[in-house]
């Protein structure tokens, strides 16, 4: 078990090393997030209070779209030179391979989110620093949910010709409950509402637990057909 967890970390480190060298997904995701932020700031002519009302929705839509660019690369990165075959044929169990991929994609998506958050505040005149730490906790939980499902679908679509199109088609509908919870919580946190976030938090935690367990269990059947 310890050996397999270590293998997951080696795979995550390899993915991060190659990504920080090439910056293929990272540059695309950060640029995309910033461009959409700019467009949103021009698209809506809203009062300040109205901006806060839609702040959670805007934020998580941007994170979701940027996240697609990140998770799509997770297994696609293994396609050149048939590296996926070597990993699957190695003693590393499929769940450890999946976990490594999920950790690297999660890290990259968190980087994109943390880089774009200050710009989001700047362009939309939203004060986000006051509730940064609870919001950061929410970002960790919801981003794990986006990542873990996205990486699983990235494995499903890795050999599909139109994988870039297929991934969002499969991925987004599944994320609806998670996104509703994350959007409502973000809006409440940014507005500074004294509301009970417990139900949304539970929804996100349960979503993460279910889909992490399912993905870890099913990945062997996805990769070896």
């Amino acid at each position: 078990m310890k050996r397999d967890l270590l293998a997951a970390l080696f795979i995550a480190r390899k993915d991060l090393r190659t990504e920080f060298r090439t910056k293929e997904a990272l540059n695309a995701a950060v640029s995309f997030a910033l461009v959409v932020l700019v467009l949103f700031s021009f698209a809506f002519d809203l009062e300040r209070s109205e901006l806060y009302d839609i702040s959670g929705g805007l934020l998580w839509i941007i994170y979701l779209f940027a996240g697609s660019l990140i998770v799509n690369r997770s297994f696609t990165r293994e396609v050149p030179n048939d590296c996926l075959d070597v990993l699957v044929a190695s003693p590393v169990p499929a769940w450890a391979l999946f976990l490594g991929k999920a950790i690297s994609s999660f890290t990259l998506l968190m980087v994109v989110e943390l880089v774009s958050l200050p710009f989001y505040g700047l362009f939309n005149n939203i004060i986000w620093m006051k509730t940064f730490w609870p919001h950061f906790g929410l970002m960790l939980l919801a981003t794990w949910g986006i990542t873990v499902t996205g990486v699983a679908f990235s494995a499903v679509t890795v050999n599909v010709r139109l994988r870039e199109l297929m991934l969002p088609v499969l991925h987004y509908p599944l994320l609806i409950p998670l996104l509703i919870g994350a959007m409502e919580m973000s809006t409440a946190l940014l507005r500074g509402d004294a509301v009970d976030n417990g139900p949304n938090l539970r929804l996100i935690v349960v979503f993460d637990a279910i889909f992490t367990s399912l993905s870890l269990y099913l990945i062997e059947f996805i990769l070896v057909t």
């Binding site: 080696f10 390899k14 030179n81 048939d82 075959d85 070597v86 044929a89 190695s90 003693p91 070896v224």
Partner: protein, 233 residues
């Protein structure tokens, strides 16, 4: 106990049967040349033995255990793709695979493996900067890194120059001396026959011949193909 046993293995891709009840055995220490024309099912059979693909019917065992799970530690696989990362250096690639293959002291093993295939001087070079032959040598070093008991090699001589073929021959001879079992699919029959102790011929998904390499095969690499062309199954 056989090192590898494939028992009536069928594999369908859609409606097309790539393997039709292929049955094949390799004793420990055997070097099997797996021959067959394009589309005969060689790669599919090797992928099933490596547990990269599940048979539709039939079973494959490695030292008596069903392929997959713990048998993966005993296998070294070299497929059509070289299986190394273009954006990692040669030493980074092999160290990573050493770590994943549970090699003791992966960095030292990676350095020694690079020296062995003649890539010691370019160990810090990125795989994407290598020529095709150098990349293939790096792939060979990767497949042999953990001294596997079973080596599955799919067209290992492709794109190798004479020197690299010599390196591969040496590695294969050493592996055989250490008791490894080798199955290699190839169209370079002459190179394969020099090392093979057993020859298997696949025709349209069936093993039509499996037996020891004979003097006729060594003298005339096309002999086996002609024999089975004359007697269609």
């Amino acid at each position: 106990m056989n090192a590898i046993a494939a028992d009536r293995v069928w594999k369908y891709f859609g409606d097309y049967p790539a393997l039709r009840g292929a049955t094949f055995e390799a004793a420990p220490g055997a070097c099997v040349a797996l021959l067959g024309r394009n589309g005969a099912g060689k790669t599919t059979l090797l992928r099933i033995i490596a547990n990269l693909s599940k048979p539709t019917r039939g079973e494959v065992t490695i030292f008596g255990e069903p392929a997959g799970g713990k048998t993966r530690e005993r296998i070294g696989y070299l497929g059509h793709g070289i299986g190394v990362y273009d954006d990692l250096s040669a030493i980074e690639n092999l160290t990573l695979f050493g770590q994943l293959m549970h090699v003791a002291n992966p960095a030292a093993a990676a350095g020694a493996a690079l020296e062995r295939v003649g890539l010691g001087r370019v160990r810090e070079g990125f795989a994407r900067e290598f020529s095709r032959g150098m990349r293939q040598r790096l792939a060979i070093a990767r497949a042999f890194l953990h001294n596997p008991e079973v080596l599955l090699l799919d067209e290992p001589f492709t794109s190798l120059d004479d020197r690299a073929i010599g390196v591969l021959h040496d590695l294969l001879r050493d592996a055989l001396k250490n008791g490894a079992t080798i199955v290699m699919s190839t169209h370079q029959i002459r190179e394969a026959m020099e090392l093979a102790t057993q020859v298997a011929l696949l025709e349209r998904g069936r093993i039509v011949h499996s037996g020891p390499r004979t003097v006729e095969m060594l003298a005339d690499p096309g002999w086996l193909y002609r024999k089975y062309e004359e007697k269609p199954q």
